[in-house]
Point group: C2
Chain length 147, copies 2
């Protein structure tokens, strides 16, 4: 799913030229599970790609969104955040650990859409729904790791 040739094919299909920068940025975007900013990706990859410029990361991520290789993600901080996971999925915000993790659940999605369909909200055509689950992480390791 994230192999090099796979990424190359996606870029081509999207009508984009295959460049080293795009491969690296897309790979980093896939790998980072919590929804990264341009800055974050830049930091991740610049060690192995010292000539990479932050501006390019911005432009590239925007381009990915434009051609539907990625999407923008809602966030409470006021930073642009991206996500390579295009499938409908929900987000769990772990408030105590500040993590954002994906939660995919077709059944729940259908349940909600069914419910809203019955409600028949007027003047509005629902395209999709996304659930944000606010939670705390319960992790034994946490209390121990305070050291």
């Amino acid at each position: 799913m994230g192999s090099l040739t796979d990424i190359q094919e996606k870029l081509t299909q999207a009508g984009l030229k295959i460049t080293h920068q795009r491969l690296v940025i897309y790979e980093a975007l896939i790998k980072s599970m919590s929804h990264p900013t341009a800055e974050y990706i830049y930091e991740k990859i610049k060690k192995k790609n010292p000539s990479m410029s932050l501006g390019t990361v911005h432009k590239t991520l925007d381009k990915f969104v434009e051609v539907d290789l990625a999407k923008k993600v809602l966030s409470v901080d006021h930073l642009k955040r991206f996500d390579a996971n295009l499938a409908h999925h929900n987000h769990i915000y772990l408030e105590n650990s500040k993590e954002i993790i994906d939660y995919h659940d077709e059944e729940l999605q259908d349940l909600i859409l069914e419910y809203l369909k019955k409600k028949d909200l007027k003047n509005i055509k629902i395209k999709d729904v996304q659930l944000q689950i606010n939670a705390d992480k319960i992790d034994q390791k946490l209390s121990v790791s305070i050291k």
Copy 2:
């Protein structure tokens, strides 16, 4: 619910001094149904309060969040947006008109929480859930008002 004395009481309860700026900003925040930025509120009130500074609006809104008189809101643009409505409620993003409107539905909220409770996600303690409904506005007036 939004009377002057009412707001004053809320400020006092929150341990904040009552100042003209805070009254005006809080009132504007309550009144604006779509989730405003500091800039937006500043523009709304500066006509009647020419000495108000944008920096104060920022500081005041942050302060309101700090004392739970308001909360930060998720947004796709990368702007800080606020909301005086503290009750659990869902957001409908009207993608074509860029509006964000509130959608309160206790029944739906319960439905979702019930479902998730049965799922029993491990290592996670759910605090609340919020639904984002992406939709398009269907409005006859729209097509006419193109002029």
